[in-house]
Amino acid sequence: MEFLRPATWDEALAAKAENPTALPIAGGTDVMVELNFDVHRPSAILDLNRVTELTEWTNDGAVVRLGASVPYARIIAELSGPLPGLALAARTVGSPQIRNRGGVGGNLGAASPAGDSHPALLAAGRDVFVEAASVRGTRMIPIDDFYLGVKRNCLAADELIRAVHVPVADGPQQFSKIGTRNAMVIAVCAFGFALHPKNGTVGTGIGSAAPTPRRAVEAEEYLRGVLTERGLWESGGPLGAEVVQRFGELVKAAASPIDDVRGTADYRRHALAVMARRTLTWCWNDYGRQIRSAA
């Protein structure tokens, strides 16, 4: 096994092109578990810790470009305002020690359906992009095209994740996760929700309840229709129990979970409906307050 230590992003891309089977490592919170248990013996390890620009983020007012290695602890501390859904998801990742090391790039690279970032990224909208680069150039991959299967993403062998581009929130966002305790749990299932009043859409993201993280498309369309047709974006008025219930049912129907050690498929479906109703209610209450205080 080789240990590759590029000092710059260009060196990292060159190393990945030369060693396409090299396993990138940044925070190590996934990769080292596999190495410690000898699950995986890659030809080479490509350490990205020296590439300091991966730990930087920028915000141009419309979009946050989040470096792949910005640790969750800093997402919570520095980006709760512009990226509230992702920051809430980050709070549920592992433990303080894990949040000091792990970042969204690793979550995307591993592409586990249980990764905590994914539901928040999906809910943040269809204009979330993974910035992937290789010596051949840079690709902006829409988040909806990124996940291909269980622990599979659409990266080419010579590509590395440079950053993820997430629109700055223009409405309330929420994240909810089921686990056996508050800390150190892999999600039994998770749900992200966001209101996007500027373009009159809503975003959803389902975690740990399908082969990939997935959007509840029909639930989004249903709610968007209701909010628009009934003038609720303008009024911020009550949604009514029927709408909340229906939204929960559509989220539940969008999942295709399995029975496994963390929970049954039935439980996951049930829990998703509950989380969908709760996160919608929390967000809508916040939105209503904003409308009323602006009036």
Partner: protein, 190 residues
């Protein structure tokens, strides 16, 4: 491969390091620092918590090659040069927060980091900070006492405040429990 880094203020060098090896293995088996414990090897238990460039991390999840030219502070580094226990270490001894001791090194480093950031944490802050450190002996209550005691002593040494405590009477899971009450809270008084 060879890895050189700073451990507890001293330059160290490890030879014949396997490329997939963890920092924890290097510390314990190659550079004579077995204080950090190897329990789960998957970041679940926190027993191997060390500072990496001032940030607490699980040493089992850091690849050895990633610490090249960087600074590591282990539980051994919390004690003084002549071996006298550091403030947090002494508080754990005095509060009876150690039973089998396997989780203790990680708890000490994580507590040290907590009190550096916030010398007067509320109980919920303490529980959150230590949520990645598992103890299977104590039931955590003596550990809570030890952190409150360390907080009181640290604040006394700095001449500020009253240390951590039980908060303002909120139940667990509610509010931040920021201390406004007297002294060190339950069992924390010296």
């Amino acid at each position: 491969m060879r890895v050189t880094f700073t451990a507890n203020g001293k330059p160290v060098e490890a030879d014949d390091v396997w490329e997939g090896e963890s920092l924890l293995y290097v510390l314990r088996e190659r550079v004579g620092l077995p204080g950090s414990k190897n329990a789960c090897e998957q970041g679940e238990c926190g027993s191997c918590t060390v500072y990496l460039d001032g940030v607490p991390v699980c040493a089992c999840l850091v690849a050895a090659g990633q610490v090249q030219d960087r600074e590591v502070l282990t539980v051994e580094g919390l004690a003084g040069e002549n071996g006298e226990l550091g403030l947090v270490q002494q508080a754990f001894v005095d509060a009876g927060a150690v039973q089998c001791g396997f989780c203790t090194p990680g708890l000490l480093v994580q507590t040290d980091a907590l009190l550096e950031r916030d010398p007067q944490p509320g109980d919920n802050d303490i529980r959150e900070a230590l949520s990645g450190n598992l103890c299977r002996c104590t039931g955590y209550e003596k550990i809570m006492d030890a952190v409150r005691l360390a907080s009181v002593r640290k604040c006394a040494a700095r001449g500020t405040g009253q240390g951590a405590g039980q908060g303002t009477g909120q139940g667990a899971g509610q509010g931040t429990g920021r201390n406004t009450g007297p002294g060190a809270g339950k069992g924390g008084a010296e």
